[in-house]
């Protein structure tokens, strides 16, 4: 018989931290081969890479890039949170770590957005 989690188990910051970590990890993993494939165009010279960079120099791609930077920052900060929980000798719920990880995502998102537009 398949058991379902009580909804209350999901109404918790730690559950949402898990969801964010998993979704961001999945999207980053799927993006990785595309990213590396695009960079590998440099094998065919500067012009080939430039052609690709120009093709993706559109608002929609910039928005996607921004999203990927935020996902990367969130996944990294969420991962550091897990490492601290597992390896550091702290105790308690440590919800502040979740808030800090979300903060890192916000900071990275703002920094990248500023760099894009200024």
């Amino acid at each position: 018989m398949r058991r379902f989690n009580d909804a209350r188990a999901r109404n918790h910051a730690s559950y949402w931290a898990f969801v964010v970590h998993r979704i961001s990890g999945l999207l980053l993993a799927l993006f990785l081969p595309i990213h590396l494939w695009a960079l590998a165009r440099a094998l065919n010279g500067e012009i080939a890479l430039d052609g690709f960079l120009r093709a993706v120099d559109r608002p929609l791609f910039k928005l996607a890039e921004w999203g990927l930077v935020v996902l990367l920052a969130l996944h990294a900060a969420g991962g550091v949170r897990l490492l601290l929980i597992e390896f550091a000798s702290w105790s308690g719920l440590r919800k502040d770590l979740i808030a800090a990880a979300a903060g890192v995502g916000v900071v990275a998102g703002l920094a990248f957005a500023l760099a894009l537009f200024y």
Partner: protein
Amino acid sequence: MTPAAREARLWYWQRVSAMVLALCVLVHIATIVYAVRGGLSAAEILSRTRGSIAFGAFYIVFLVACAVHVPIGLAAILEEWLGLSRRGARIAAAAFVALTFGFGVAAIEGVVFS
């Protein structure tokens, strides 16, 4: 190796690679934010990276750490969310990472060593 020992080993490698990746991602995001100002051009990127031992070494470490880290998480997702068998999930994740790693080697060769 017993199944439990194998799980423990995967957990260990996911964490060790995460420690390496935490540093790599910090450097990567800082580089992205620095490089993206004023728009990206191939000439600008390649003038920075081509022939640079530092960039080459950094991206080799980054790529290897990704190749260790990604399949472990991916296999867990394939098993838990898509209902694949453990063996099937590991094979699919390994195939995905082998492809990605191949692109990564080509990318490093193109951006740094050519």
